[in-house]
């Protein structure tokens, strides 16, 4: 039970780290913890976001610069990442080869004729107004709302 709890806790922590990384990856500018907290939208405590950002910084996943009393965080684009990028690019190209399907699982497969219409309809039916904002706009919006 205790091991299960600990694993669950580690998983939640990992998920939050990934969310924050993906959030910062599409932000146009470095973000403060408050901006990250707002962008994530969930009922996350400020301290949780703060702690996770610090942890990611200590893992050298993020860089930060002082901005007044807070830090602004950005993805750390070092040379390791450049190498990883090349590999990831190669893998992206490989995705269309069907024999890779057993080791690489894609989030979404290819669409078939008619799917586009069907999916657009389903999106409308599920009735959510919030369209995904383009990354730069989302970044600016969150900084503007910042008190």
């Amino acid at each position: 039970m205790v091991a299960d709890d600990r694993r669950g806790e580690r998983r939640r922590r990992g998920a939050l780290e990934q969310q924050i990384l993906s959030c910062l990856a599409v932000a146009s500018d470095p973000m403060t913890p408050a901006e990250v907290q707002e962008a994530l939208g969930a009922e996350l405590a400020y301290t949780t976001v703060m702690t996770t950002l610090t942890r990611l910084y200590e893992k050298r996943a993020l860089t930060r610069e002082a901005d007044g009393r807070a830090y602004r965080y950005a993805l750390n684009g070092d040379e390791n990442e450049a190498a990883a990028n090349v590999t990831a690019h190669q893998m992206l190209r490989l995705l269309d080869r069907s024999d890779r399907a057993e080791v690489l699982s894609r989030f979404v497969a290819d669409l078939q004729p008619g799917d586009e219409v069907l999916l657009s309809k389903l999106l409308q039916v599920s009735g959510e107004a919030d369209q995904p904002a383009a990354p730069p706009r989302r970044g600016r919006r969150s900084s503007r709302k910042q008190p």
């Binding site: 996943a61 990883a84 893998m91 699982s105 290819d110 799917d115 657009s120």
Partner: protein
Amino acid sequence: MSAWAWVPLIMALIAPLVGPRIVRSLPPAAAVRLATIVAIAIAASTGLVLAIAAELTLAQVEEITHAEFTRGVARASVISLVVGGVAAVAVTVLALAAVLSVMRSAHQLLQASRQARHLGEARSGLVVVQDPTPAAFAVTGHPGRVVVSTAMLGALNCKEREVLLAHENAHLRHHHQVYIQLAALAAAANPLLKPLVAPVRTNTERWADETAAAQVGDRRLVARAVARAALASHAHAPGQPWPPVSPMLGSRSDESESEIAQRVQCLLDPPVRRSGGLTALVLATAIACTAAGGAAAVVGHAKVERIEAAATTVDDGPGR
């Protein structure tokens, strides 16, 4: 051959027909596990039955050469010789296919984990690629990695991104590739089982969708994320042939629904309830199939020993 031998063979014919239908009435996690277990059980027991049929034939060939070659013996044995010969060839070819399949899987896994290492010290298992193509995938390895392009992240809002990450992490956490590879192995060892591979694959996606839904607590949100990601990927794949959709083509029957449309629809429908009875039935069938294969092997082997014993007495006969 004993009557037991027919059970796995008949199962191998029936399972691909009813399997996909049964899979649809099970929750995805149960569907993947059961379909994989059944496929492996049938592949193993049919392999066993074929092997024992081949062994029996070889023993009979020996018996004929040893025994006095009367016309009666020869005529009676011709049919079983043909059956056994076919079984011998089949079991050899299929065993080779299975070995090849295992080697292929091992090679792919090695390659993937090597590539996963090249992906660097992925922070928290996530690799973000600066790429204008919306793409996201999970790479099996130790540890596994989730690779997402910036274009894909940009196409989704924050909650939808959480869905995507939860979906890909679910693939890694629940070892979905293992199930797919086991099903592929079963299909290599018994090509009749090929129709079971696609349902296993599709249901790992459904399983990951439901895991993500449990994590974010909203199945409609997952449906939206999947639809949005699919539309974004499609909009960025100009190289692919894409017939313009006419209004007539737009309304298609449910049978021709693609995987994505099915996933989205399943998420919008109420979740499939777990059926203990159906699960037990499928498991019982798998066990019965394996047991019948085992029984056929035992009976067949005993027969082989009898034949060999008889041949030895014939051999010794003139000497005494």
